[in-house]
């Protein structure tokens, strides 16, 4: 990470902490609803971050991260509902449970590659909602009816609304997780992970225990996504099998690709996009109907599809990748031809 991106990150972070405090000045702009919306974006961001650790940095494809999200959410919900556990304590529990599930799933996954791994994870995403409804688990999971929860209360008598508190809570968790991921990737282990992605066999000959790294990465990735699930259980205050259908996993994948595979910042961007694209598709659909006077109904789902394709056209490397090249291009066009060539070579190398 370059110094300039770091500077930007700090700026965004400072803004994220300060903006909610502007409520007395701009009550409409920083309403509870907006904060809640940003909270859901951050939750999605964490989930995509988990997926990115696995797919972007370790090269294992998963179409089933919704399953870990569900396991995390249900772990939190069951603990809160049956054991009256405080909501913040459910996060480490969800992380541990999901790590174990992810690690165990990673063992057979070692044998599978590419499309086969895609199928296995896809199957996992399909199986989890059905397992939640399994007859002998019904007492715990609430079966098809799910579990209704309470929203987290504001602690220590802080002068915040529930949504403000939730926002800060999620923001802090996200920053911690992001920081941990960045550190991990920057360490020996992180480089080993990426070496496996780039050339498994070579990594093996260099003495990296590829199996161990792959399974542990699976576990960590699942834990991240599981924490996101646990957070969502608190934020939505309701879990049900219907919340975790196969499309959830696909949306994480979309968030990953659109944000930027193998980019931490991209994960957060992807999380934001994940929430925004739905809303903007709907807005665009109404806009097309009411303001452009379209004769036929262009449904939001159609707009969603078109948006995805157009986005992939414009930025096949994701938003972060696209912006990166754009900035590079702008810079090099302002530089001398010699530096331009150098930049091009560098760009080639980073690809």
């Amino acid at each position: 990470m370059t110094a300039s991106t770091k500077k930007w990150l700090w700026l965004v972070l400072a803004l994220a902490f300060l903006v909610p405090l502007l409520r007395p000045v701009l009550p409409d702009l920083v309403s509870d609803y907006r904060l809640f919306l940003v909270s859901t974006m951050m939750i999605a961001g964490i989930a995509v971050l988990g997926l990115n650790l696995l797919t972007g940095f370790n090269g294992q494809i998963s179409l089933g991260h919704g399953a870990f999200y569900a396991v995390g959410a249900y772990t939190a919900a069951v603990l809160m509902d049956h054991l009256d556990m405080p909501y913040w304590l459910t996060l480490p529990c969800a992380a541990i449970v999901c790590f174990i599930v992810g690690y165990l799933f990673g063992l057979p996954a070692l044998k599978l590659e590419g499309h086969y791994l895609a199928l296995a994870t896809f199957a996992l995403a399909l199986a989890v909602p059905q397992i939640l409804k399994y007859k002998w688990l019904e007492g715990l999971t609430g079966g098809v009816q799910g579990i209704v929860l309470n929203k987290p209360e504001v602690p220590f008598g802080l002068p915040l609304t529930e949504d403000q508190w939730l926002y800060y809570y999620i923001l802090i968790v996200m920053v911690l997780l992001y920081w941990a991921a960045a550190n991990m990737l920057n360490s020996r282990s992180g480089r080993a992970m990426m070496a496996i992605r780039d050339y498994t066999i070579a990594a093996g000959t260099m003495g990296i225990d590829t199996s161990l790294y792959k399974t542990v990465t699976f576990g960590i990735s699942a834990a991240y996504t599981g924490i996101a699930g646990a957070l969502s259980a608190s934020a939505i205050a309701f879990v049900a099998p219907d919340s975790f259908n196969i499309f959830l996993s696909i949306k994480f994948l979309i968030g990953l690709v659109v944000g930027g595979i193998g980019s931490l910042v991209g994960s957060v961007v992807g999380g934001i996009f994940y929430v925004l694209v739905d809303n903007s598709a709907q807005a665009l659909s109404t806009f097309a109907k009411n303001d452009l006077g379209l004769q036929f109904d262009l449904s939001a789902y159609t707009v969603f599809g078109i948006l995805l394709i157009v986005l992939m056209y414009l930025m096949p490397m994701g938003i972060v990748g696209g912006v990166y090249y754009l900035v590079q291009g702008l810079r090099s066009s302002m530089r001398s031809p010699e530096a331009k060539a150098q930049a091009a070579r560098k760009q080639h190398a980073t690809r």
Binding site: Y134, S299, F304, P316
Partner: protein, 301 residues
Amino acid sequence: MEQFLQQVASGLANGAIYACVALALVMIYVSTDHINFAQGEMAMFSTYISWQLMSWGISFWIAFILAVVLSFILGVVIERVILRPLHNAPVLSIVVVFIGLLAIFNSVAGAIWSYLIKEYPSPFPKSSFGIAGVIGPHQLGVVLVTLIVLGLLFAFFRYTPLGLAMRAAAQNPQMARLVGVRVDWMLALGWGLAAAVGAVAGIMVAHIVYLDPNMMAGILLYAFAGALVGGIGNPGGAVLGGFIVGVLENMVAFAGNQIEKTTGIYIIGNGEKLTVALIIVIFVLTVRPAGIFGRVVVKRV
């Protein structure tokens, strides 16, 4: 015993559906190396086209042929217009494009033809013969059509120069280009063929599951599993894989049923049959990573 036979027969009938869609998946995979998640929705769309033609008074088989031809053209157009510019994009970006296509086909079909289910005629005679009560005439017909399509594809790839060119383009594009194969067009042709096979699948399936925009959602996964079990690069394997998944799934439910009957304890049932079937599939794949009939590709390091 009667139940066992009926379960196997119904598994085979479902398997035929999966096999048909799996064939379409394999077609795209063989020619472009991608798994097309929009395949099911494209097949659904083709089926609606044939339905529309029939509702205009065209007879079944003519509508069938027209729909297959139109689907072929649609497939070629999608490849040329939408996927060609993304030639060098990463695999997952292509997957996202497929998801986009899925959303578009699904919602456009819903907008044109509504989400209500429609009945779809069966072209096969409604006779009752020796095995009536075990397997219906339409189901038998589907099995037959699937095998015919498989035979045709096999002959096409094996014995025609075009088929050979397509295989060459997929396996080694550079070399194929050197010997004068127009690789670009071969890819588009692969898409067209896949769309056409998908149309056949959709038309065969629609009588059984009824026609609606979401009719392929569940089936695609089974087809995917079937194709992988059989070996994704192998049409024959994919068909067999489809049948295996269909029967296996019913057998899981049957076994659970029998256990509950004899011991009175519910262990697995219809709610878990898909899960258990998939676990078995994945287990098989960990033992034979290239699928049952797939050839292991030895990579040179």
